[in-house]
């Protein structure tokens, strides 16, 4: 009687091994999880809490319009009175923090792409926004041969 009860409750060997293997896998997973989850994970939400500090400590790469005005007030005034007045200097000239801190650091060279980014023909753009087809409009290299970006309505 006792032996039959024993055999009824003993787990078959292959099932027992699988249970042990499962426990081992789960244990390895939990240990790995303990060591591989960043310590600050979940501090504020479902992300690494430290990332806020890391992002805040990044050096800014854009200087802003005011920094440009300090040295380039003439160009600043030109733009401020023309159609591109709402466009930031760095939207066309590229990021300028390094140049603002040290004038010897050169700004990026302007290319044609800066213009067509906004002015390439696209039916989804509003009609009043000036658009060209860059394939047929002009096949040369420089938009500035005919246009003044600081005063778009003037002719050079």
């Amino acid at each position: 009687m006792a032996s039959s009860r024993e055999s009824r409750f003993s787990l078959p060997p292959q099932i027992l091994r699988l249970v042990l293997l499962t426990i081992a896998i789960v244990a390895v997973y939990l240990v790995a999880r303990y060591f591989l989850t960043p310590p600050s994970f979940g501090q504020f939400g479902f992300y690494r809490g430290d990332v806020l500090q890391e992002l805040a400590s990044l050096e800014p790469v854009y200087a802003g319009k005011k920094a440009c005005e300090e040295c380039h007030s003439e160009q600043y005034q030109q733009v401020a009175q023309a159609e591109h007045k709402s466009v930031s200097c760095e939207a066309c000239h590229g990021s300028g923090q390094a140049h603002a801190e040290d004038p010897d650091v050169k700004m990026a060279i302007l290319g044609f792409s800066r213009c067509v980014r906004c002015h390439e023909e696209n039916p989804s753009r509003p009609k009043w926004h000036k658009q060209i087809n860059s394939r047929t409009h002009y096949t040369g290299e420089k938009c500035t041969e005919c246009h003044l970006p600081h005063q778009p309505n003037e002719v050079p």
Partner: protein, 415 residues
């Protein structure tokens, strides 16, 4: 003019037609060929597993020769199922993060659970119970690294008594029964990822998970036909025609069902003719003509339906050699057709503007992570893994236990 953006403008703008929002102006859709392969490979897994459960659960005796091959096929493809996603996302070294911080808040993150369940709790367990007795036998006779592999796979259990073998068969059958809804879950889930995107009329559709699982079954059976015929050809054996005819029969019925539901989906769309219908019509006629009309409808559905249907009617009159070739041809056509179907879903859904009044273009590149060469490598990889698995676990040199999976109540004599 070497500026990247300038090139984008030059190369992409002519590919647009009609009204396309500026923020949709990128040279490639967000999801490229790798995301096409992901549902394709996952579908092959689910289909091959369903094929195996025909033997295990539904006692389809003629299919016994392909039972283990289908399970190994499912395993080889399941091991590669996440690779396209991993490569597409970049930073494969961070892949463990999804396991370390699991959550339920995004459909994509859910794949971790679905995948782990299917691989660990269903497929590997069923394979282990099916092979356990063989592992014990092979570990006695094999030496070297093969012996070590087989010994490791016994997990130290050498019990070959009738009771133990009976338990293996029972457990295998039980897992197979669990495996069928799991296979539906696995691939239904993939359809759900697309079907749950409400803003996209090409995707947002409750039929999507059903269409995905049906096409997965069709492609999985076709893959098993392909693998079985290639394997027998490589081994210079003759194909068992009874098995092949039965596979052809199931392939035909699965295809009929799949084609009917996909046709229902289209009839539904045509009748409703909602606001996105015009652009979808244009897509089917122009942008996706080759993959949808030729690839999916003609090569993947119509021709195999005719061939397999004819073979159902006049099987006895067709000589064996012709029959074998027709089955093989149909299987290959279906595999191409289902790949085209995944392409149509994934790429098609990204080729029209959210304005529903314009379309974008997509030219598949050769090199690069999203190029077709990479896609080809990823498609070849499961076959390489399958070769290793077949050499290890379907070797002709090794005697098998001889028990047949469906007769769980009458275990064969052990040893």
């Amino acid at each position: 003019m070497t500026n990247e953006l300038a090139q984008v403008v030059f190369e992409v703008m002519p590919q647009f037609e009609g009204f396309v929002y500026p923020n949709e102006a990128s040279p490639h859709p967000l999801w490229g060929v790798l995301i096409v392969l992901y549902p394709y490979i996952t579908g092959l897994v689910a289909g091959a597993f369903i094929m195996a459960s025909l033997v295990r659960v539904f006692d389809v005796k003629p299919l016994e020769p392909v039972y283990r091959l289908s399970l190994l096929t499912a395993l080889a493809f399941l091991l590669c199922a996440t690779l396209p996603l991993l490569f597409h996302l970049g930073h494969p070294e961070r892949c463990f993060a999804i396991m370390m911080t699991p959550h339920f808040s995004s459909p994509m993150a859910m794949f971790g659970f679905v995948y782990a369940w299917y691989l660990m709790a269903v497929l590997l367990l069923e394979l282990w119970f099916d092979y356990r007795q063989d592992f014990v036998e092979w570990s006695k006779t094999e030496t070297g690294w093969r012996g070590i592999v087989y010994r490791a796979f016994t997990l130290g259990v050498t019990d070959e008594s009738d009771a133990a073998v009976k338990l293996d068969l029972k457990a295998g059958r039980f897992l197979s029964i669990i495996g069928i809804p799991s296979a539906f879950l696995l691939h239904g889930y993939v359809g759900f990822i697309f079907g749950s995107i409400k803003a996209n009329p090409w995707w947002g559709n409750v039929l999507m998970p059903i269409i995905f699982i049906l096409s997965a079954i069709v492609s999985g059976i076709a893959l098993c036909v392909f693998n079985y015929m290639v394997l027998t050809w490589v081994r210079r054996r003759t194909v068992e025609m009874r098995c092949l005819d039965t596979m052809g029969m199931f392939l035909f019925y699965a295809l009929v069902f799949d084609a009917a539901v996909e046709a229902l989906d289209w009839i539904h769309r045509v009748y409703l003719a909602e606001e996105g219908f015009q652009v979808m019509q244009y897509m089917a006629r122009e942008k996706l003509f080759y993959t949808l009309s030729i690839g999916q409808a003609l090569i993947g559905t119509l021709l195999p339906l005719l061939i397999l249907g004819a073979l159902q009617l006049w099987r006895k009159r067709v000589p064996e050699l012709i029959r074998r070739r027709l089955y093989f041809g149909s299987a290959v056509m279906i595999l191409i057709g289902v790949l085209a179907m995944r392409w149509n879903v994934v790429i098609g859904g990204q080729l029209f503007s959210k304005s529903l009044r314009g379309v974008m273009g997509y030219k598949l590149e050769f090199a690069g992570v999203e190029g077709w060469f990479m896609g080809l490598v990823l498609l070849a990889l499961p076959f390489v893994i399958l070769v290793v698995l077949v050499k290890l676990f379907l070797s002709e040199r090794l005697p098998t236990s001889g028990h047949v999976p469906h007769r769980s109540s009458v275990p064969a004599k052990a040893g």
